[in-house]
């Protein structure tokens, strides 16, 4: 039995897995970070664990993909490619795994084919196993990724997304597997993607069994979440029925909504006579010990509700979205409405919209629709842009049944049938002019970007540019441990911060006094490697919401009716659809705001000329902040 390494070809890997007596384990560090810590586990921590994880003998380390690529640049301020490069230095043999959202790549809506292929090619230089899914299980949405992964000589791991309900039968899933095999051929790993941690052990056991009956040689990888506290039960059933690979994570960091502890999986299955192939248990324990002390610094990112949620079987929210949904409930002040939203409205919306799979970006559509239905008082009264796209079939056909007509009418008005006829169906997204984008990026950052920077930019243009500017200004900040990078409340006077920089050089920074300057500016003194440095911060502008009374919803609507369009909710401006001087009609899109990964258009209430634009792309608006003004010309 050869240990599996990234130096083997896909068919060699598959051969070893098929011949193995036992099962393999994937360490899903990325999914743990996303589900239990809002994706904030820093590269610094992963690098601390890296040598032990390398020794542990995992089938693979799932360390990129999902929302992490975006959060890397948006919050962790680390280049997603540099991250892989540095981890690779410390983990020369372990296969790296990603989670790819098919046509939605690592984002929330479909990308052009040439962008998908370009991104996959660049990431495939580091990523050996490609777990790819589509939230509608619409196989054509994954085609481009399959092809590029195969071309790069890497392992394709297509998913069938799993859920529960009368439509979700073994027959249905077996037929989906066939659909995948028709496209990819047999030399793949098939993933049963149970992102919610749904179903009982026996349900999962039966499903694995049915697929194995139909395709005895097909390698199965079971992916689950421990939201209800019972994923080890499902994992056990999956392995006993023939699944060869399962997912779990380092126990010192396991929480509520992510993967279960690796060691518990090993211990449980051992008594069933199933051996974890290649696993070095001491190294598994050592990985957890190596990073245990870091966990305290991530407490601020743990979910607002502590404890398992067996009610996931009712609301079906995926583990990866639990943290951010709860955070939104706290920020939006509707944590008290959660029982209504989670246990009544969300299951209802799921059924009404087609009982497909609650996973990105579908889970966000279900969640925002349910929240909006409860909070607005009128169900489907304020449909998001993404919900409309879903109803138009832009993400793919509904797998089981279409939503009722009244929902279409709510979304598109009385003439909804015409709208569907004119705009409906999966849209072929035009290829992007990548060279033009490269030129734009060059201009925006003032130097020629690398191919990797271009890939990052093509996925998240504004966030990427902000990140590149951050890097320019602050350097490689991944070297800072969470105790520094994520510190709340500032440092102690005299506190000594020690870290090694990107070049391995150790530095010491001693925190000195802060002094107020003459014009309200603050001077912070730091002893940097024994040299005093002063950092000046200008006085904060006291304006904005503190000075202006918050507008009520009604006031915002009233203002819009006289042409003064304000942000109806908190969100980032992702598009301003009009220009100053432009004549517009009532009901036209004037801007698009994005909140919780959902894009929602702002509609003009009146006809007139755009006279003032008060915001810019990328700006974070609070409810009531100015967007733009439309002048009817009536006053003159």
């Amino acid at each position: 039995m050869k240990p599996i390494t990234r130096h083997m070809s896909p068919s060699e890997v598959l051969k070893e897995v098929r011949n193995g007596d036992g099962y393999f384990i994937t360490n899903t560090a990325r999914d743990m970070s996303q589900s239990d810590y809002k994706n904030r586990i820093l590269l610094h921590t992963d690098l601390m664990a890296a040598p032990y994880r390398e020794d542990a003998g995992y089938f693979s380390l799932e360390i990129t993909g999902g929302a992490s690529v975006h959060v890397d640049i948006l919050r962790k301020q680390v280049d997603p490619f540099l991250k892989l490069e540095l981890l690779r230095e410390k983990m020369p043999n372990t296969m790296f795994q990603t989670l790819c959202r098919g046509v939605n790549l690592f984002g929330y809506r479909p990308y052009p084919q040439n962008v998908i292929r370009f991104a996959v090619r660049e990431f495939a230089k580091y990523v050996d196993v490609w777990r790819t899914f589509d939230f509608m299980n619409h196989i054509p949405n994954m085609q481009a990724v399959f092809e590029e992964v195969a071309k790069a000589g890497k392992i394709n791991e297509p998913c069938i997304c799993f859920s529960t309900g009368p439509e979700h039968t073994d027959e249905y899933y077996v037929s989906k597997v066939q659909e995948i095999l028709d496209v990819t051929g047999d030399e793949i790993i098939l993933c049963i993607k149970n992102h919610g941690g749904l179903g009982t052990p026996i349900r999962i056991g039966n499903l694995v069994n049915s697929i194995k009956q139909a395709y005895p040689d097909l390698v199965l990888h079971y992916h689950g979440h421990n939201t209800d506290g019972n994923d080890i039960g499902r994992i056990t059933a999956a392995v006993l029925n023939g699944a060869e690979i399962v997912d779990a994570a380092d126990h010192s960091f396991t929480g509520f909504y992510g993967p279960p502890p690796i060691l518990s999986v090993i211990q449980t299955l051992k008594d069933y006579g199933k051996e974890a192939i290649g696993i070095n248990e001491e190294a598994v324990i050592a990985s957890s010990d190596a990073i245990r002390d870091e966990r305290a610094h991530y407490a601020q990112f743990e979910a607002q509700i502590k404890g398992f949620l067996p009610t996931v079987q009712i609301h079906k929210l995926p583990g990866g979205a639990m943290g951010s949904s709860l955070e939104q409930a706290v920020k939006g002040g509707f944590l008290d409405k959660m029982p209504d939203i989670l246990h009544k409205e969300l299951p209802k919306v799921q059924k009404e919209l087609g009982n497909w799979w609650s996973v990105t970006p579908g889970s966000q559509i279900l969640w925002t629709t349910a929240v909006s239905n409860v909070m607005e008082g009128e169900r489907y009264g304020n449909p998001s842009g993404d919900l409309k796209n879903l109803l138009l079939g832009k993400y793919g056909p509904f797998p089981f049944y279409q939503p009722d007509e009244w929902i279409y009418e709510k979304a598109f008005g009385k003439n909804w049938k015409e709208t569907i006829e004119q705009e409906g169906g999966v849209e072929e997204i035009e290829d992007m002019d990548i060279e033009k984008e490269r030129a734009t990026l060059t201009e925006r950052i003032g130097k020629t970007p690398t191919e990797q920077q271009l890939v990052t930019y093509l996925q998240h243009p504004n966030d990427a540019v902000e990140f590149f500017k951050f890097e320019e200004k602050f350097g490689q900040s991944y070297v800072l441990p969470p105790s520094i990078f994520l510190r709340q409340g500032g440092f102690e006077l005299g506190e000594t911060l020690i870290f090694k920089d990107h070049h391995g050089q150790q530095h010491m920074i001693e925190v000195g006094p802060a002094q107020e300057g003459g014009e309200g500016e603050t001077n912070i003194y730091l002893n940097v490697d024994h040299h005093q440095r002063m950092f000046e911060f200008e006085a904060e502008q006291v304006t904005g919401t503190a000075a202006v009374a918050t507008l009520s919803k009604e006031e915002i609507v009233d203002l819009a009716k006289i042409g003064d369009h304000r942000a109806p909710f908190a969100g980032n401006v992702c598009e301003i659809s009009v220009e100053i001087g432009q004549e517009i009609e009532a009901g036209e899109n004037i801007a698009i705001l994005e909140a919780m990964k959902m894009q929602t258009p702002v509609i003009s209430e009146i006809a007139g000329t755009v006279t003032v634009i008060s915001t810019k792309i990328g700006q974070a608006l609070k409810p009531g902040d100015r967007i733009l003004k439309i002048d009817t010309g009536e006053e003159e």
Binding site: G475, L480, R487, G490, D501, H503, I509, R533, F535
Partner: protein, 480 residues
């Protein structure tokens, strides 16, 4: 009444001269333009005279400077370097106003400032020179002369503006085609820059060393040298690093070059302190380049290895004293290196960093260390003048000791606010070729790794900036 001397300059060199004047128990009168109102030179001087808003124009205004000297009862004027230092009209104006000009006579400045006259004097005295021409004739005739010269001596050739200097008005030509192209451009540029379109040719010595000799002459004709300096490390013909004595010269060659310098100075009728510049090729052949008729930036290294205060000597000679020492009393001991710490970004083509405030200024000290600067913590560097902040000169018995001392001083130096040339010099002192003393004028072009420091050395400062921000805001808003 005490003797007063006007210092017709600014910045570090004004301070250097003021110190010598005050050590002689005379009084120093400084001048300043408005952008220099916070400069340290006017605080150290005994008196300071505002000459106008400038910038530069008032430091260059002969009438205003003479007027300031006369109104403040000065008997002499020291011009420093730059500004009016090598302007014969200024020396003449001083002479006419009854002020002692601390430097050679206006005639000598005039003759040596004109490249063609200077070359004629040196040729007549038998000083070895790079093959070159007189002023080329106007129009196509001049171009024909140029092509003919090239046939005789080969390319590359320098096309030089007769009235140029300090590295300006020079262009390198590689072949006939370029010559035809560059010749008219050089003429029109020279006309625009120096109001004189005369140009001449000089053969290029490929990758030479720049070796110069400090000379001092009194009015009796007694002329001594203070040994050699090597100023090969330059960017765009501007010196960055100077060492004394020149390295790897045999005693015989060194003596020959110094004697030639004295011969050249005598031929020109030189008085006071000056510098005779030579190019030294890889065959140890040397060629006269020019005589600088002023105190030079790098005079400090000669002072360090000879123990002779050149500025003090200049003043005494100008006031009629004779030289108090003979050539055989001048002894060159040890080594000295001077680096010019400029407010410039070496990685960005030495872009000046004027306008920035020096938030922290901590300088090194100790044995064998000399600082000639004018900036201080809280000082905002004027954008309108040159970017020299401070000259760091170190002395050591052996070359290695001197380089080690330089490294130590650079490490101890803290200047924050503007970018400086310090990190570049930190790379320099670790460069194997520099440590061996192996460098010529092509050094910077062939040692581009000297510019590879920013990511490494300033990485920690970038991170410190982030840490300061996390501290100030109470959280990392980028990670929130």
């Amino acid at each position: 009444m005490n003797t007063k001397i006007l210092v017709a300059n600014r910045g570090e060199i004004a301070i250097r001269i003021i110190r010598a004047i005050q050590e002689l128990n005379y009084e120093a009168v400084a001048i300043y333009e408005t952008p220099d109102k916070d400069s340290r030179h006017i605080r150290i001087a005994n008196e300071a005279v505002w000459v106008g808003h400038g910038p530069r124009a008032d430091y260059l205004n002969i009438d205003k400077v003479i007027d300031a000297a006369l109104r403040h009862d000065c008997v002499a004027v020291h011009p420093g370097y730059g500004f009016l230092a090598e302007n014969p009209a200024f020396a003449k104006a001083c002479e006419d106003a009854g002020l002692t000009f601390i430097g050679p006579s206006s005639d000598v400045i005039h003759n040596l400032g004109n490249k063609v006259i200077a070359r004629q004097i040196m040729a007549d005295a038998g000083i070895p020179m790079t093959p070159g021409t007189k002023n080329l004739s106007a129009g196509d005739e001049g171009l024909k002369e140029a092509i003919t010269f090239a046939e005789g001596h080969g390319y590359p050739i320098m096309l030089k503006a007769t009235a140029g200097g300090g590295g300006r008005g020079i262009r390198r030509v590689e072949n006939d085609e370029e010559m035809s192209e560059q010749y008219p451009i050089a003429r029109s540029e020279a006309l625009a820059a120096f109001n004189d379109d005369s140009v001449y040719l000089e053969k290029v010595i490929v990758q030479p060393k720049h070796v110069e000799v400090q000379i001092i002459a009194d009015s009796s004709g007694k002329t001594v040298h203070l040994g050699t300096r090597d100023c090969s490390i330059q960017r765009r013909n501007q010196k960055l690093v100077e060492i004394a004595p020149a390295f790897h010269l045999s005693p015989e060659l060194c003596d020959e070059i110094c004697q030639t310098a004295i011969k050249a100075a005598k031929a020109a009728g030189y008085t006071n302190a000056g510098t005779v510049e030579f190019l030294l090729d890889s065959d140890n052949k040397y060629y006269f380049m020019e005589i600088n008729t002023r105190l030079q930036v790098e005079h400090t290294v000669s002072e360090m290895v000879t123990g002779i205060d050149i500025v003090r000597t200049q003043i005494k000679l100008a006031l009629g004293k004779e030289l108090l020492f003979d050539q055989d009393e001048v002894e060159i001991r040890g080594h000295a290196i001077e680096v010019r710490i400029n407010a410039e970004d070496p990685r960005n083509d030495f872009m000046p960093e004027g306008g920035k405030t020096v938030s922290v200024y901590r300088s090194p000290g100790g044995y064998g260390v000399r600082l000639d600067g004018f900036c201080y913590q809280g000082f905002t560097i004027p954008e309108v003048y040159d970017s020299l902040l401070v000259k760091l000169t170190v002395f050591g018995w052996s070359w290695n000791e001197t380089v080690d001392r330089m490294r130590r001083c650079l490490t101890n130096f803290v200047i924050t606010g503007p970018k400086t040339t310090i990190p570049f010099y930190l790379n320099l002192v670790d460069d194997p070729d520099f440590k061996k003393g192996d460098f010529d004028t092509s050094y910077l072009e062939t040692h581009t790794h000297l510019f590879e420091y920013e990511e490494y050395k300033s990485e920690v400062n970038k991170l410190a900036n982030l840490i300061a921000e996390i501290h100030h805001k109470g959280q990392n808003t980028y990670a929130a």
